[in-house]
Amino acid sequence: MVNIKINGMECAVAEGTTVLEAARAKGIRIPTLCWLKGTNEIGACRICVVESKGTGKLLASCVYPVSKADEGREFLTHSPNVLESRKTTLELLLSDHDKKCLSCDRSGKCDFQDLCRSLGVDDDERFEGARNQYEIDDSALHMYRDNNKCINCRRCVAECGVTQGVGVIGANDRGFRTNIGCAFDMDLAESACVSCGQCINVCPTGALSEKDNTKEVWAALGDPEKVVVVQTAPAVRASIGEAFGFPMGTPVQGKLAAALRQLGFKAVFDTNFGADLTVMEEATELLQRVQNKGVLPMITSCSPGWVRYCEAYYPELIPNLSSCKSPQQMTGATIKTYWAKKMNVEPSKIVSVSVMPCVAKKFEISRLDQKGQGEYPDMDISITTRELAKMLDKAGIRFAELEECVFDSPIGSGTGAAVIFGATGGVMEAALRTAVWKLTGESKDSPVEFKEVRGTKGIKYAEYDVGGTKVKVAVASGLANAKKICDEIKKGESDLHFVEVMACPGGCVNGGGQIFVPSDTRNFTDIKAERAKALYTLDEGNKVSRKSHESPEIKQLYDEFLGEPGSHKAHEILHTSYRKSRGIK
């Protein structure tokens, strides 16, 4: 232990503890900007400076580990020098920042704006001079980059390169001309960006944002010729409450269904239905692959960011990808076929909207292989959790006060297995519930919980003895983790049967389209675990069932329309194919 002082308070800390963490333990929140715990620890922005008493030196507290040499040293976290330095740093950053806060999508949820306010910036034009002017890169379907608002903190770069192991963005050029972009200044759409959107989540300004598709939704809702329906993914109910004052991890599915109805959607569906359907198809596919000595391990294909990563970085593993469409697409395909017929609605009049925790879903709906029957796409518009929060705000819907209601049936009830799709390990557990049931004689008492695959660890392995057969599974979330498993499979070193991969760390609950979390909360809370709790609570309390194959709506769908899981019709509507991507790595 080393004895230091923080603002006069005695403080014994373990060697290696940063001054920032030591202060935190004493109840002092040192402001940060570029720092992302464990990901971007570069001490570059100088917002977190503290003063070493006596020397007057200002140190970046996020990367200053206390050592024996600091015995007896005192650090000041809000001396006049410190406060003046932080303010000046912000004013210098502002001198090359597009300050259109009033029309900025990030306004009110912007770390940079919050810092300027809390650290007392009183003149946003204190430093005048040259300004960089950049073209906005809106080439990609899922997001845009406006470097006029970028402050070069490199959080997006670290998230893309370190957490995701993708690294299609980085710092180019030097000095005043330093800018974040792709190699050879190519458009994001030309690169092998997987569209996970994690960069957007960590951006402290309005430089990165999803493409706004709410205008199209508003237009459709106002068109009397259209039948506008909506579905919402499991993870949305674990996050959207945060935008309306609920603590992180509060499940709000009843209010969510009510809010969507108030917006004017003709039918409010639950993507959980599609998740149950995915389990039925995917478990069948897995058993067929095992029995027919097909390509193993089979890897899940629910996460469009992961699918894109596989197509660009591991095309040799495309045969391992499950041919199942994602729950969004399965729900969409069912709406325009089964539901349309049942309700006697012309499919071409349907505008099918999805609310997703994900920006890659915007890309997924555009894939040519994602068409159901006929010439119309499975899905028409995909918006993020954040975009829905904006729509509710605009419509003046007081989310917290809404009376809870249920989703529309059919396509409205999901089992506990479906709701956990939103957390890493959830798809695996849901599939195991049904696969084990099938393999062990379809007993009502087949196991429900497979806790080994739960939790926010990046890679999890488990082995189950199922009726005498050993089933080996792995779960990865975050693409840098997925890469490790992909390398094992590629080298032929893997004896796994089934692998779940989610592009986003922690799975969809931490998706690139979820409600923004201020960086201070992000650094000191496990968002992934908090939001996942909401889903496991909903699983345990599910009144329908906790197993997909017991869902009455799913049984009805197969009875009335699809026949058996894995049938010819199911393949036509619910399965797809993949191809090698040409994106530049």
Binding site: G170, A171, A183, F184, D185, M186, K585
Partner: protein
């Protein structure tokens, strides 16, 4: 924005690529090997086009963007080959105050180039340089070893000078 690659088609040979791969495998895994590989590669090809950077990226399993970031950070690396005739406009203090900046801009716009660029036929490349020791002749520029001093910067003067050079 679009892929910003060199206007001159890449003319790398199999022999150059073999040498590059040998260099990479000799240095791979050492700390700081990327800088040395880039230096060797620039020595081999004269510049670092996307074709060369992609080879390095694949061999080292480093994203192309990271390599591009390093290449654009250090002025010693070039994304363009040098032209047959290398125009260097002096930006030393004396030349600068005598209007060298305007002359550089004029030549750049006549050739349609940015600093460091090369014409698509490979005839001219252009860069600015620091004092070449001919301040008495300011403003000065050089085209390979030819020195042009006391420039007035008129269109006719520049056109006449450029017309002296051909493939």
């Amino acid at each position: 924005m679009a892929l910003k690659t060199s206007a001159v088609p890449f003319k790398g040979t199999a022999a150059q690529e073999k040498k590059l791969l040998e260099t990479i495998s000799a240095l791979k895994g050492e700390d700081g090997s990327l800088m040395r590989i880039l230096q060797e590669a620039q020595g081999l090809y004269g510049y670092l086009p996307i074709e060369v950077q992609r080879i390095i990226s694949e061999e080292l399993d480093i994203p192309l963007e990271k390599i591009y970031g390093v290449v654009t950070f250090y002025s010693q690396f070039s994304l363009n080959p040098k032209g047959k005739y290398k125009i260097a406009v002096c930006m030393g203090t004396a030349c600068y105050v005598k209007g060298a900046g305007d002359i550089l801009d004029k030549i750049k716009s006549k050739l349609g180039l940015n600093t460091g660029g090369v014409t698509s036929d490979g005839l001219f490349s252009i860069e600015d340089c620091r004092c070449i020791g001919a301040c008495g002749l300011a403003p000065v520029m050089m085209i390979n070893d030819d020195v042009y001093g006391k420039l007035e910067g008129t269109d006719k003067e520049i056109d006449d000078i450029l017309a002296k050079y051909s493939l």
